[in-house]
């Protein structure tokens, strides 16, 4: 695997490679593990997560701008409406005939990006978007444990962020304490795209109006869920299920993942 990655990197022009590695704070190795998704019952099987790598930080405006410069079809005024809504890169300003982030926003996470744009960015880096399972597996880590979700205040701290409006642009990436895996900003900065964001079992009606979500919500409650008090996770699943791949929102960005460990 290591050899494969190195081989790939050799095909990328050195200048580009150097630029990207400067802006990118690298990926964290995530070892294999298991976790029980929110929507399964206590006796349901655990979901295994294979070893993978995850960007330590969300993609910044600076990084996304470099991508757009190299791939002009992802410019704000060039992207087809099929792949991104009007609000795509809404926070970038036009100067010298090009849309670009303001200097003060360079290290802030890129937002107003569609799933297509995020996926294209990751593919351009020989990466992909993380799956919901991978993302949630890393997100349940606290500062000291792989699974910190039972720690005091773990949920409340996340909920505190959910309770703030998205009126202002998010802060710069990487300013928080890294979690167990050395990964930053899993909570408290932005929502993030996942590869299979719309494959979870929550329908638009969060209770029980269709057969697919019977396991999750029973009679307007959540008796079937592993931890019905895990409101933070409910909100993430709820948020993801409200999305279409072309949506571009003021609090939604992404980071990339790749198979295997280094």
């Amino acid at each position: 695997m290591l050899r494969y990655c190195l081989a790939l990197m050799m095909f990328i022009p050195p200048s580009t490679w150097g630029q990207d590695s400067m802006a990118n704070h690298g990926m964290a190795n995530i070892t294999a593990g298991e976790y029980r998704p929110l929507y399964l019952s206590f006796d349901s099987p655990l979901v295994s997560v294979a070893p993978f790598k995850l960007d330590k930080q969300p993609i910044t405006n600076r990084e996304f701008q470099q991508f757009v410069v190299k791939n002009p079809k992802w410019q704000r005024d060039a992207v087809p409406s099929l792949f991104a809504e009007n609000a795509y890169l809404n926070h970038w300003e036009k100067s010298a005939n090009q849309y670009q982030p303001s200097a003060t926003d360079l290290e802030k996470p890129v937002i107003y990006v569609s799933w297509y744009a995020a996926q294209a960015y990751c593919q351009a880096q020989q990466k992909r978007l993380p799956t919901v399972a991978e993302w949630e597996y890393v997100a349940q880590a606290s500062f000291t444990q792989k699974d910190g979700s039972q720690e005091k205040d773990y949920n409340q701290n996340i909920l505190d962020w959910y309770a703030k409006a998205a009126k202002q642009q998010p802060a710069e990436v990487g300013k928080d304490e890294a979690n167990y895996w050395g990964v930053h900003n899993m909570h408290g900065l932005i929502w993030e795209w996942t590869e299979d964001f719309n494959s979870n079992l929550i329908s638009g009606e969060s209770r029980d109006d269709s057969s697919v979500n019977k396991d999750l919500y029973c009679a307007s409650g959540s008796a079937g869920a592993v931890n019905p008090s895990d409101y933070a996770a409910f909100m993430r699943y709820g948020f993801r299920s409200s999305l279409n791949a072309k949506f571009t929102l003021s609090s939604l960005g992404f980071r990339c993942a790749a198979d295997g460990n280094d």
């Binding site: 609000a87 949920n155 409340q156 909920l159 505190d160 959910y162 309770a163 703030k164 409006a165 998205a166 009126k167 929502w191 929550i202 329908s203 638009g204 009606e205 969060s206 209770r207 109006d209 269709s210 919500y217 307007s220 959540s222 008090s229 409101y231 409910f234 909100m235 699943y237 709820g238 948020f239 299920s241 409200s242 999305l243 279409n244 949506f247 571009t248 929102l249 003021s250 609090s251």
Partner: protein
């Protein structure tokens, strides 16, 4: 505020000509104009003119006339529906997440329909076809949707209206059943969306309309769960644990403590009939809705067709409603409460209806001199262990402003809104020699309660006041408010002074009986 009462005598029209309809529309527009502060006036007028033409254009092919719904924020209610035909009613609502006042000094991130709690009141007619456009503000962090209990269909519209930030969803439904219905957000986690204030009322008027009344108001109860205790200052986050345990810090009418108090009280004149559209958003508490000093002449039980008469207290379930009607016969301030009474006096579930006009001593005499009988004797009640909240130092003016709220929630019921008290029962705080003489003694009375004979302004009192569960800041604020109100001598009480007295044994009961 509600001056349209005389404008609805049009049920006597018996022809259904276009001319008649035009008159109806004109009446509706003027009614809408009478709703001062109603932002939809311009929109309404504009849509009326288009709907007139739409009607002419489409009558040939049998389509319904299109009408833009008038939406109002609590406590206002849109004007009664006067048309006698079905329409296609367009309702546009935007969900917004915004920080607003929960109580004086206390802020909360509310999730709202239309920017306030409760959401806007919607009024449609049985048989109407409603086109509902739900927009979620681009500034929202959460997806939202709406489940209207007036909808017949799976989810009540929830799945059809599930909307990410910066998007709009549209769905339609037909109003099959008349009644007063709750609507609310049903996005995961449902409890949190409701708990943050996402609910309101939609009235489906029966085809025959509701009986004519003089005043209509919109009152909706809700319970809130904050990290800090009741009254703890600052921006308070939602507390999941308390919500699951169903232990609210706040139970309020119309979205905040004091939303219907003082100058914001609803009003009526003696002899008028008042109709209250009462809803309960929950998420957890069932309301025992009661107006102190009034009897509901009529209650549409649970907002449905069943009429009950001569009701003292009506249950309003979480996610349910009731319509109450009563004629106000005498003047005064009538206190609306959730008669689960600790909620009223300790969590905020208290509002006011101010009735002005001539007194009628036959119906109500007012207090007549008599000897006080208090079987509780000298017992004092301490309600809780108040702990000092972390608050910033307030200026005297801020203390007075916050103290006013404490007064209205804790003191007003006995000492009255003008501080005059009740002769022979509750001593006056207005121009009170007893109060102005000794601030520390006043602090002690709030902390420890008071019983036994005292003399205030030359009058003797012999009654009981229980200790009030307030923290140091609240006591300092309410005393500063009282000292600077009701013709008293002014002055200021600091939390430090209160703290000092808290550590002193209740020694100043010099006349303890």
């Amino acid at each position: 505020m509600f001056s349209f009462k005389s404008q609805f005598n049009i049920k006597t029209f018996n022809s259904k000509t276009l001319n008649f309809k035009t008159k109806v529309l004109v009446t509706m527009v003027s009614a809408a104009l009478a709703l001062v502060s109603c932002a939809q006036v311009a929109e309404q007028s504009a849509s009326q003119s288009t709907s007139s033409s739409a009607k002419k254009d489409t009558s040939a092919i049998g389509q319904l006339p299109v009408i833009q719904a008038v939406l109002t924020h609590a406590p206002n209610v849109p004007p009664p529906i006067t048309r006698n035909y079905a329409a296609k009613v367009v309702i546009n609502v935007e969900t917004q997440e915004k920080v607003m006042r929960m109580a004086d000094g206390v802020d909360y991130m509310f999730w709202t329909f239309g920017g306030q709690v409760p959401g806007q009141f919607m009024r449609v007619r049985e048989g109407d076809e409603v086109e509902f456009n739900l927009s979620n503000s681009p500034d929202s962090k959460m997806p939202h949707n709406i489940d209207l209990h007036a909808v017949t269909g799976a989810g009540g519209g929830a799945a059809s209206s599930f909307t990410a930030p910066g998007h709009t969803s549209t769905f339609s439904f037909k109003t099959l059943n008349p009644g007063l219905y709750v609507y609310h957000c049903a996005t995961a986690p449902v409890g949190m969306h409701i708990g943050n204030g996402m609910y309101g009322l939609i009235l489906v008027e029966p085809k025959a309309g509701l009986s004519k009344v003089d005043r209509e108001y919109y009152v909706m109860q809700g319970d809130f769960y904050t990290k800090g205790k009741y009254g703890e200052a600052g921006l308070q986050p939602f507390d999941m644990e308390k919500a699951i345990k169903e232990q609210p810090d706040y139970v309020v009418f119309n979205g905040s403590v004091g939303a219907l108090n003082g100058e914001k009280a609803i009003t009526a004149k003696v002899g008028e009939t008042v109709r209250l559209f009462v809803g309960n958003g929950g998420p957890n508490m069932v309301s025992s809705f009661h107006v102190i000093g009034e009897i509901f002449d009529k209650v549409y039980v649970e907002g449905g067709k069943l009429e009950n008469h001569n009701v003292q207290t009506t249950l309003v379930p979480a996610g349910g409603a009731a319509i109450t009607e009563f004629k106000v016969d005498v003047p005064g301030t009538f206190i609306m409460v959730d008669h689960s009474i600790f909620r009223a006096f300790n969590k905020g579930a208290l509002g006011m209806l101010k009735v002005t006009g001539p007194e009628d001593k036959i119906i109500y005499s007012g207090k007549q001199a008599d000897k006080v009988y208090l079987p509780e004797g000298s017992a004092t009640q301490s309600i809780a262990n108040p702990t000092a909240a972390v608050v910033k130092t307030l200026t005297k003016d801020e203390q007075i402003a916050q103290g006013k709220n404490v007064f209205e929630n804790n003191c007003l019921a006995c000492h009255q809104s003008n501080g005059e008290g009740i002769p022979n029962a509750f001593p006056p705080l207005a121009k009170s020699d007893f109060l102005n003489a000794d601030h520390d003694r006043a602090i002690g009375i709030l902390l420890h309660g008071r019983s036994g004979p005292i003399t205030v302004n030359g009058k003797n009192f012999d009654s009981v006041m229980p200790a009030i569960a307030l923290n140091n800041e609240q006591i300092a604020n309410v005393l500063t408010y009282v000292l600077n109100s009701f013709g008293n001598n002014g002055g200021q009480v600091t939390p430090a002074q209160v703290d000092k007295q808290r550590k002193v044994a209740p020694a100043n009961s010099d006349n303890h009986g």
